[in-house]
């Protein structure tokens, strides 16, 4: 089912961020929201995720996974549990293995997967948050600045994963730079006008 936004109007106080904005995202594929700071990239992701309901207009309701810019990990759970315990009520062995494998593919050692958020670097936290979003089975995947804290090697790995996932479901992401997306099949959604 495509994700349709019709006549979206959203303002913060006197400042209008969206005025009668309409767009249709296809069922699958990668869409990149571009625009300067304050153009409403994160706001649009929050509206799609159902976290911001203070707007006028119409939007088709869909379950979405969200990798936030601020990572948002639970302090009492380790890296692996921040994925498995949050995504599944009773995680199966295979699900735990999948989570471990994905973390390891993002340069986590076995020991790293057992570290708690206060023991992880910013980049590691971001990778955990991204793995959590990718492993959820929601139809829409929202990624807010996913390349922010990653080095070149990890960016390439993330690009591979995005490419693979975008063939199965809809991915909407925000990015300041489009350099790393040059090899990916993507649609740019400009929020400048």
């Amino acid at each position: 089912m495509p994700l349709i936004i019709k006549n979206l109007t959203k303002s913060f106080g006197d400042k209008k961020v969206f005025e009668n904005f309409s767009y249709t995202f296809s069922e699958k594929g990668l869409f990149v929201l571009v625009g300067n700071s304050g153009r409403g990239k994160t706001t649009l992701l929050r509206i799609i995720a159902g976290l911001d309901k203070d707007f006028s207009g119409e939007i088709t309701k869909q379950k979405a996974a969200y990798a936030f810019q601020e990572y948002r990990l639970f302090p009492s759970l380790n890296a692996l549990e921040n994925i498995t315990r949050i995504l599944w009520e009773k995680p199966k062995k295979s699900e735990i293995e999948n989570a471990k494998k994905l973390l390891e593919s993002f340069n986590f050692t076995q020991a790293d997967t057992l570290l708690f958020p206060n023991e992880l670097s910013g980049g590691m936290k971001q990778r955990v948050a991204l793995c959590r979003a990718f492993l959820s089975n929601q139809g829409v995947l929202l990624l807010d600045e996913p390349f922010k804290e990653l080095d070149a090697d990890l960016r390439a790995k993330l690009c591979d994963l995005i490419e693979k996932e975008s063939k199965k479901r809809l991915i909407i992401m925000t990015a300041h730079s489009l350099d790393m997306l040059s090899n990916l099949d993507h649609t740019i959604v400009s929020l400048e006008n």
Partner: protein
């Protein structure tokens, strides 16, 4: 050269020696041993008490009252905090009551309760009345201090019920509850013993303190007071350890 890790212990011993010396000097200068005994007189009185079965009986009964008061106060504090958090009408009723209890002098409560329920249960009720507002206010604050960012994660990934409580609320609640539990047990000791003294409760440390004062047995009074201080410190430490254990168990 002394190992650096022994410094805190050495400092502790030196500090204790300093205060005991000051006490000894003051007591000898005042020379009023029926009101202000020396360290050695107090130690002697404490050793004599330790050889009496009645001393242990009094300690056990006082201990039981303090613990009962603490448990009741803790349970009601938690219950009222959850009720206030969940319902504004409950909050409107409970919150002023808790503030009044917190501000009312302990002695006033003791006198009123003594008339209604007799001397024996007074220390238990007083202990509960001291602990309940402390737990109530801290828990209520913790319940209202929501982590909005993690709430949103719960919403996105449909983390509900027990999982939401365990991963989102429990760490926050425990970080508020554990310190107030430790100070609550100390407060409960103080208030319950004061209630035992004023209400002249049977089989209690408080009654012995009252009698020591009435018969000018300063050394006994100090010995019983030291017993209360030691018991209070031991229970504060135990509560602290229990809190650490719970934190470890919940991996906070």
């Amino acid at each position: 050269m002394v190992n650096k890790r022994y410094y805190p212990y050495i400092l502790g011993v030196l500090s204790l020696a300093f205060w005991l010396s000051l006490w000894e000097i003051l007591a000898r200068t005042l020379d009023l041993n029926f009101i202000f005994p020396t360290v050695s007189e107090t130690a002697h009185a404490l050793l004599s008490l330790l050889s009496l079965p009645v001393f242990y009986k009094n300690v056990c009964f006082s201990l039981l009252r303090v613990l009962l008061g603490f448990v009741i106060g803790f349970a009601f504090g938690c219950l009222f905090a959850f009720l206030s958090h969940g319902n504004t009408v409950c909050r409107a009723i409970i919150s002023p009551m808790m503030s009044v209890i917190k501000a009312t002098p302990v002695a006033s409560f003791i006198m009123v309760l003594w008339c209604f329920i007799g001397s024996s249960p007074v220390p238990i009720v007083i202990g509960a009345l001291m602990v309940a507002p402390l737990i109530y206010h801290n828990l209520y604050d913790a319940l209202n201090k929501k982590d909005r960012e993690l709430e949103e994660v719960c919403l996105i990934y449909e983390v509900k019920g027990y999982r939401k409580f365990r991963y989102l609320y429990l760490p926050e609640l425990l970080s508020f509850l554990i310190p107030s539990t430790v100070s609550g047990i100390g407060l409960c000791w103080k208030a319950s013993i004061a209630a035992e003294i004023i209400a002249y409760t049977k089989n209690s440390i408080g009654k012995e303190i009252y009698l020591s004062k009435a018969y000018f047995e300063g050394a006994d009074l100090f010995a019983y007071t030291i017993t209360v201080i030691i018991l209070s410190l031991v229970f504060e430490k135990l509560m602290g350890k229990l809190g650490e254990w719970v934190k470890k168990k919940c991996r906070l």
